[in-house]
Symmetry: C2
Subunit: 332 residues, 2 copies
């Protein structure tokens, strides 16, 4: 049996291109005891994958050259030599970008599609939702009445952060890159105010106008000059969660900017970089809250779904151009 | 009755000079009920005073133009209309730079000179020691065997941080600006390793050599390029306490440097700006530990004492040139 896979053909310098990927057809491994044969249904594409294309020390190991990219995948069990999983089950795993593959039952988690659509387990009920939940609740510790600013607010994590912050009684300001996105943040996701950074000349002033008492919490998905403008308005005792720095991922030189420490010092600000793995012992608690809020309609979730396994590289590149609203997924 | 005082004559642009201060003789106010007449004994000069010379929003309010500078002072009670304090008592207070002044009993704390010399209450048993204690213990949470780097290590706070870190079982590396200071850190204060930043060409490499497993804790008194070099070697899950940024206090432009957020994000690093007031409810606990360690000889303390009230401005300017080892104090 043969299947298509997508491998990392070369490491990008600066912005990745389609040439950094290669599609090829390979043999699928023989099924062993304790394993299942899987057909990929939904593939997650995420900003953190840019970092893994480099050969650099980071929180997740680099992708290997000439080996399949891997990430979160929802798959259907076609055939089983496992006592736990049976044909027809829908599972979640960190799996290679292959149309069909084998995997050990130990590396898979069966999901319940009666609670939410299968793809939600890559998003609001998966790493995306947990990242929003723990970044906001455990690092930023929102208090009722505080002002929360979110960059990359229309991204998969951003829309969930904003809605959790509203549930906590905060005033929520979202920064995004199009009028379509900022409109959606207000009408669909209940944000109080929004800023389109692409059409705003003086970001620092715009944030200052919307946050007259300063920014108490900054959930940063973006970095760069947008963050400079937010931090210029930071309040005493503020908390900044560093979740992503997508504005800088494709830089080749060391990015330069204003030094932050004087501001963080004089205003007693906390800044904390995090990855979701830091909170893995608390995942069940996070999932429980998120599932309840989704069920109660308190958290809405949006996906941008590209069709076709072959479009995986294109979808990933699209993330860096802001082509998604909410979670970006490829449906095989 | 008349007394000399030192006022802020003008706000400095960049590095302050003696011209920013003015000495003048004024009447001492009449003693009221609940007040005492004080004679200044020891005056604290501290890096944070530079910030108060500017007219900018910060953790402590700006000094007023044409008004006396104020700060930590140890004084002797000359005359009392207080039921709590009597003539001859030695007290600590936030007091103006006046040779003689009146103050309310409410704003003064009697000190016990049988435990330690009076001037220690401006240092290791005062704000300096508490800053070291809470910055290290509450923000950095040292664990046995971790590597701690301290910038401005020969300063008043730095020498205490290093000794507390040694008590906690850490490996301690101090950065200072002369061979005399680095030698003292090793022989007098028990630091494991030191770096003289003025004679070291590649600071990042030098830190990397001394911290082969990365920097777990960075207690930053200095900022600027020294911090860039430390953060280039920061470990996963490291903690950075921002205590001072003396390298930048005299800048007129916004200082620029490499953006920190990508490093803090990918390595899950915490950075926390703080002032000692954040921990005021826990002061008694901190003082208790510090006094015990001083009594047991586990914490040694050094002072640089300038003689003469008139030398207060000169002593403050000297801080920014690194003329002190340990706590800088002026004895009247």
């Amino acid at each position: 049996m043969k299947a298509k896979q997508i491998v990392l053909a070369s490491r990008p310098k600066g912005s990745p291109t389609l040439n950094n990927f290669r599609s090829e057809t390979v043999d699928v491994a023989e099924l062993k005891n304790g394993e299942v044969l899987l057909e990929g249904m939904y593939y997650s594409v995420d900003p953190y994958m840019r970092g893994r294309m480099n050969d650099a020390k980071s929180y997740s190991p680099p992708f290997d050259l000439d080996q399949p990219i891997n990430g979160g995948v929802i798959a259907k069990v076609l055939e089983s030599k496992s006592d736990i999983l049976k044909a027809g089950d829908i599972v979640l795993g960190m799996l290679p970008w292959k149309e069909t593959c084998t995997a050990s039952e130990k590396d898979l988690k069966k999901i319940d599609t009666s609670i939410a659509p299968a793809s939600y387990y890559l998003g609001v009920l998966g790493m995306t939702g947990l990242t929003a939940y723990f970044g906001l609740m455990n690092i930023c510790k929102p208090k009722k009445g505080e002002t929360v600013v979110i960059s990359g607010a229309a991204g998969a994590v951003g829309v969930v952060v904003g809605q959790i912050a509203k549930i906590q009684g905060c005033r929520v300001i979202g920064i995004a890159g199009s009028d379509e996105k900022t409109k959606l943040l207000k009408t669909e996701f209940g944000f109080d105010e929004t800023i389109n950074y692409k059409t705003t000349k003086d970001m620092s002033k715009a944030i200052g106008m919307l946050c007259p008492n300063g920014v108490d919490i900054y959930f940063d998905n973006v970095g760069g000059e947008i963050s400079d403008a937010v931090i210029a308005n930071i309040n005493f005792n503020a908390r900044i969660a560093l979740c992503g720095q997508i504005a800088l991922y494709n830089s080749t030189d060391t990015p330069m900017g204003p030094r932050l420490q004087p501001m963080l010092l004089t205003r007693s600000v906390l800044m904390q970089g995090f990855i979701i793995g830091n909170f893995k012992n608390e995942f069940p608690e996070g999932i429980k809250h998120l599932a309840q809020w989704v069920k109660d309609g308190k958290i809405k979730f949006t996906e941008t779904i590209e069709n076709g396994f072959d479009n995986l590289p294109k979808a990933l590149l699209g993330l860096f151009k802001g082509e998604n609203t909410g979670k970006m997924i490829v449906k095989a």
